[in-house]
Assembly symmetry: C2
Homo-oligomer: 165 residues x 2
């Protein structure tokens, strides 16, 4: 994913501190969003290729005005939405789901409950994924610490198996 860089950057900015709700809180309005940005500026800021920004727009995820030359002009709301979109993509929400979410947003206040439901479900997805990864990490650690060349067994109890891998 092209957005990998974003999160990497963000994590570096956070240092080794545990991500907290407060830290997140600060992230969005970290270095106030200018009232208007070009595509290059937004791309730079989000560490996304400009191509991807255009792609998101074509996909209906964000609406962007044009100036007299027909060039895109991103306002603060568009940028904030892109921050949101990027975060959701990065945490595993599909384009299709995001398109649905955005449709709901555009449909007005009455869709708030459904939006909340989507967020809660996505939250569950993230938690599930965290558990999977935690388990995988333990497995890989185990393999590393018990000297882990073989694939045949994660449990190096019978060294004779090494040959079989």
């Amino acid at each position: 994913m092209a957005t990998d860089d974003l999160m990497t950057k963000v994590l570096e900015a956070l240092g080794d501190a545990q991500p907290t709700v407060e830290a997140i809180h600060d992230l969005t309005d970290l270095a106030e969003v200018p009232s208007s940005m070009t595509i290059a500026e937004v791309a730079d800021r989000l560490a996304l290729p400009a191509h991807t920004l255009r792609y998101y727009e074509r996909a209906g995820l964000v609406t962007v005005a044009r100036d007299s030359q027909g060039h895109r002009v991103y306002d603060a709301d568009a940028v904030r939405r892109l921050v949101f979109l990027t975060r959701m993509r990065l945490s595993g929400m599909s384009m299709r789901e995001l398109q649905h979410y955005i449709e709901l947003v555009d449909a007005g206040e009455r869709t708030v409950p459904e939006r909340m439901a989507m967020l809660v479900e996505h939250r569950d997805t993230i938690v599930r994924r965290l558990r999977e990864l935690t388990l995988s990490l333990a497995a890989v650690d185990y393999k590393i610490t018990t000297y882990g060349g073989a694939t045949g067994s994660d449990v190096e109890r019978s060294p004779s198996r090494e040959a079989a891998a």
Copy 2:
């Protein structure tokens, strides 16, 4: 990914206990691997489509013998390798990387250092991903708890922005 089910199953088996090295240790030889299995049995056991098992074999990730009818016969080592492969896929290692890893295994003992290096690097990848997801979780939680319909801002301080989202 088709392998999602596997991990789901595994996590359910673990219940809410924290995944530990010991738990992982138990996973591989949980319910001893039979000395020989058909493709259907392996597919069932790993919760992978048989198609995917054939695909992995074609990709060179595992070698499987045939019986007199030309049907695949998976021995315990093959099954263990598939468990390993599945775990690695699930934790984000690409097919390409796994192919390289398996090439190293097949190249013998002298490649152990490089295999270790791959495992350690992958470990880092998992840790990075865990941090990303943890951060995303905090962000989504924040959005949920602060009443989260709008996309424009993760920080619902100016309710007027709701309209802009």
